[in-house]
């Protein structure tokens, strides 16, 4: 997982599938980065390289959203594959935050 600030956004880029172990490894880092109060107004989760996502992964994404909102940042997901975009749509998550 790559986290860096790019202009106005904090970009969290995932290099592997969003599974429970990946989440476990990167949970704290992600949380800290968002709460760090850096000079960014939005959080962008880039999952262009993510092919599959499990339940924990979904919870993680929702968690990211919640954390961003709690810290007054907007949240969006980019690079979602068709499957994942579909999933988010069924779960109506795309009505809560932008999924691209």
């Amino acid at each position: 997982m790559n986290i860096e600030v790019d202009g106005e956004s904090l970009v969290i880029e995932l290099k592997e599938d969003l599974t429970a172990s990946v989440v476990r490894d990167n949970l704290d880092r992600a949380k800290d980065s968002i709460e760090d109060n850096g000079q960014f107004s939005s959080v962008v989760l880039d999952i262009s390289n993510v092919k599959s996502i499990d339940s924990i992964g979904v919870t993680f994404v929702v968690g990211l959203f919640k954390t961003s909102t709690d810290n007054d940042k907007s949240f969006q997901v980019v690079g979602a594959s068709d499957d994942i975009a579909n999933l988010f749509s069924i779960m109506k998550l795309d009505e809560v935050f932008t999924v691209q």
Partner: protein, 853 residues
């Protein structure tokens, strides 16, 4: 798991209908603009198959249907274009689906991998099938109509799915494979940031439709039964939304749930939004299930038909017995009339129940033509006319093979390759047409092509090669008879036996099959122009018109369909004489030679006694029979009545007797054998003397051997015009006395063979002159086909002529007339017997068809 056979066969029946829809729609979609209605019908059809097959655990069928459905889903969403290649693969997959449905018990053992692979090639680029989005009201209503159930499912992502090792995506794939999601919602209120990602849980609630029972749903989705709740089918969309919004959790749930309505997060809440459908769905599904008809077992229909036919015979007996006695019993006359009338109607209606449109047989041909023409690199356009023409169900079924053979022939041998056609100045696209139409009491089907026509010389060559005829016989043969060699067993004009139309066993089997149905087949061909095969079939199987004849004191029934003429030969009559050619007896009739067969000889019965001189000292009765282009005379002892008889099948112990085609029960309860002219001819092993088109009498017409030649009967009514009718439609001509004609109301009748016959005067209906009749002697032309008993009253019969080719139907367009012909510079009108009869007594119904069906 294939337990209940009855349910399986219902599934098969419905699946077959769906598979047909898919094929028809695919063919329609080809090359045309995308018609979403058609695609949606396909989608629904495949989805239906998949759903019900899933219920029976017919995994192969489910999987193939699922892949097809995915592909259609992409097409429907316009993410993929429907190419010819795709259609090919889909048609193939559909065929495999058909095969599996037809062999349902074996379907699990079949290998469908190559079909799935091929379809997946089109789907490639997309990782997995798209999920069904919630479609809202339309999908809901449609699915429920097709017998789906409605369930609400609530699960937790972690607790229920993750713990079972199911990913959310896989879970929704599962749902999509068993049904349709109508609406869904998730509750993320319990996720508090990233602190407790492993403990916080997201609850998912969704409503979906499926054909499956609750237990099977739980199995299919791998979730506890308690998470599933069946909903009332009449629920409204609004109520669904409400349900999802409410907190309707089961008591069995444990955990950290906070009871309370789903929370909104910030400004945007996770609410239930009815999503607008992504593509337009039609609101009226085109359903194959028409509500105003019912399924009836074919055995029941057969029984009804038998009973109806027996009733007809019983009614006939009753009327016959009561004849002459009705005056003695007051009031019985009208009762008999009533019974008579009701019986006729009842029989007609019951016959109608068995009627099916010929479209049922025709509709497999677009596909066949498409496939063959592709294989052969030919361009072919198929037109079909008269798809609504109805025939008895058993005839329809028996027509499939013969028609297929003829169509394949037309494509394979008839239509030339596009380059060749171009060179010949023909349009590149060849035309094959199937035409069905009613004519009187029979149905005609023309299979035509505008291809190369049949080369008679090649036929003659082949026949010689195959040893079917000798050179000498060939020399004696006229062109029409040479053409009929095509139907000889063991014949094939294909220079190479292509796998498309098969070996040479085709044509003679076609002919035999058609004749078994009581029909006949004729060829008309023009070299370089095209070929038409004309099939003539009776409307129904069971009851046929027959003539009762007697030989050696025994009665037999002869079907009328082949009967052309009845000839009575008095000794000393020199217009008709018996001659001997090569030791075979022939009859010279109006200049033509007719081979004679003694029915007694065929049956192994004694011939009628002769006097010491060995001469027939009494009248000889000969029935002129015509089969295809062959004619012969059948000599019998006596001729009795016409009878409408019920044909009963020949018992298996007698099937080897070729001279019989069935048995019938006569009016007096005794059984009579029904003769088979074809079989008789074969048993007689006739060598046919060529019918070389030589005409007789005063009228001479040059015959053109390659074109259609008709036989016509010339006559005149009271006026000076010369009229004619097709000889093939004439049963017989009878001489009658004018004084026997009775007038009842505005119609004329005559008692003919004990029953009333309606008389039609051509001058009453046709634009010809009427003059007073000259004499007492008149003639009746009795038409061959038709339910009603009529006779056409004419004053003089001239003769028959052969080899009429052109009927001019352009200058004279009048109802009742086909047109005109030129005979020795005279204009002769060609009368249409069917139209004339129609004009004289209009029918009460048009065609057949079950009420409302």
């Amino acid at each position: 798991m294939l337990q209940n056979e009855e349910f399986i066969s219902e599934f098969v029946e419905e699946a077959l209908t769906h598979i047909e829809t898919v094929e028809n729609n695919l063919l329609h979609l080809e090359g045309e603009e995308l018609d979403l209605d058609l695609v949606n019908d396909i989608f629904r059809a495949v989805h239906s198959i998949k759903g019900t097959a899933g219920f029976f655990a017919l995994d192969n069928i489910v999987n193939l249907a699922h892949t097809m459905e995915n592909l259609f889903g992409e097409v429907r969403a316009e993410r993929l274009e429907l190419t010819t290649n795709m259609i090919d693969s889909l048609l193939e997959a559909n065929d495999m689906l058909l095969y599996m449905v037809e062999h349902v018990e074996d379907s699990q053992n079949m290998d469908i991998s190559k079909y799935i692979e091929r379809l997946n090639v089109f789907l490639s680029g997309k990782d997995a099938p798209k999920e069904e989005r919630a479609h809202g009201q339309d999908t809901l209503r449609e699915s429920l109509k097709h017998g789906h159930r409605l369930y609400m499912v609530k699960i937790y992502l972690n607790r229920d799915l993750a713990k079972q090792g199911i990913t959310p995506i896989a879970f929704f794939n599962n749902i999509a494979s068993i049904g349709n999601i109508i609406e869904s919602k998730s509750d993320i209120s319990h996720v508090e940031g990233l602190h407790n990602v492993f403990d916080d849980d997201i609850e998912l609630a969704f409503v979906f439709t499926t054909v499956l029972e609750k237990k099977l749903v739980a199995q299919a989705l791998d979730i506890p039964l308690s998470n599933i709740e069946e909903l009332d089918k009449d629920i409204s969309k609004g109520q669904i939304d409400k349900l999802l919004e409410e907190d309707g959790r089961e008591e069995t749930r444990q955990g950290k749930e906070k009871k309370g309505p789903l929370q909104k997060a910030n400004t945007k809440g996770v609410k239930a939004h009815p999503t607008t459908p992504s593509s337009k769905l039609p609101t009226t599904p085109s359903s194959k299930l028409v509500e105003d008809s019912i399924r009836v077992h074919i055995n029941l229909l057969n029984d009804l038909m038998n009973l109806a036919s027996e009733l007809v015979l019983g009614r006939n007996q009753l009327l016959r017995t009561m004849e002459g006695h009705t005056k003695a019993i007051p009031g019985i006359e009208s009762i008999l009339q009533n019974i008579d009338h009701i019986t006729t109607e009842l029989q007609e209606k019951i016959m109608q129940t068995r009627m099916q449109p010929i479209g049922n047989v025709f509709n497999k041909f677009p596909r066949i033509i498409r496939d063959i023409s592709k294989n052969l690199g030919k361009e072919i356009e198929l037109t079909m006319d008269g798809v609504d023409v109805e025939l008895d169900k058993s005839i329809i079924e028996a027509l499939g093979d013969p028609l297929t053979h003829l169509v394949r022939n037309a494509v394979d041998h008839g239509i030339e390759k596009p380059e060749v056609r171009e060179q010949l100045g023909k349009p590149k696209t060849g035309r094959v047409s199937l035409k069905a139409y009613h004519e009187g009491g029979h149905v005609t089907i023309d299979v035509s092509d505008d291809g190369a026509g049949i080369d008679i010389d090649i036929i003659k060559e082949k026949a010689l090669e195959k040893g079917i005829v000798s050179q000498m016989e060939l020399d004696e043969m006229g062109d029409r008879e040479a053409l009929s060699l095509l139907f000889a067993p063991g014949f094939s004009t294909a220079k190479t036996v292509t796998d498309v139309s098969g070996r040479g066993v085709g044509m003679d089997v076609v002919k035999t099959n058609i004749e078994k149905l009581g029909g006949s087949i004729e060829i008309f061909t023009i070299k370089g122009g095209g070929t038409t095969f004309r099939l003539t079939l009776p409307l129904t199987l069971a009851i046929i018109s027959s003539l009762i004849v007697e030989v050696a004191g025994q009665h037999f029934a002869l079907p009328q369909i082949n009967l052309q003429e009845m000839v009575r030969i008095k000794p000393g009559d020199d217009t008709r004489s018996i001659e001997y050619i090569n030791e075979s007896e022939v009859l010279r009739l109006r200049g033509n030679l007719l081979p004679l067969i003694y029915l007694a000889d065929i049956l192994g019965l004694p011939r009628k006694a002769t006097d010491e001189g060995g001469n027939m000292d009494s009248i000889m009765r000969v029935l002129v029979l015509k089969l295809g282009s062959k004619r012969f005379g059948l000599v019998v002892d006596s001729i009795y009545d016409d009878e409408e008889i019920l044909v009963k099948p020949l018992p298996k112990f007698l099937k080897e007797c070729r001279c019989y085609s069935g048995v019938t029960i006569m009016g007096d309860g005794s059984i009579a054998m029904i003769l088979d002219p074809q079989g008789i001819m074969e048993m007689a092993d006739l060598k046919f003397i060529g019918d070389d088109g030589v005409t007789d009498g005063e009228i001479d017409i040059p015959s053109m051997s390659d074109s259609i030649a008709y036989d016509m009967l010339l006559f005149k009514a009271s006026g000076p015009e010369v009229l004619s009718v097709h000889l093939s439609q004439v049963a017989r001509v009878e001489e009658i006395q004018k004084s026997k004609i009775e007038t009842i109301g505005d119609r004329e009748y005559m008692s003919y063979r004990g029953r009333p016959l309606m008389i039609i005067r051509p001058e009453d209906h046709l634009p010809i002159q009427r003059r007073g009749e000259s004499g007492e002697k008149l003639y009746l032309i009795i038409p061959k086909y038709g339910e009603s008993r009529v006779g056409i009253l004419v004053e003089r019969i001239y003769d028959t002529i052969h080899g009429v080719t052109d009927i001019n139907d352009k200058d004279i367009k009048v109802p009742g007339l086909h047109g005109s012909i030129l005979v020795e510079d005279r204009v002769v009108l060609v009368v249409s017997i069917d139209e004339l009869i129609d004009m004289a007594c209009p029918k009460l119904y048009e065609g057949g068809g079950i009420y409302g069906g």
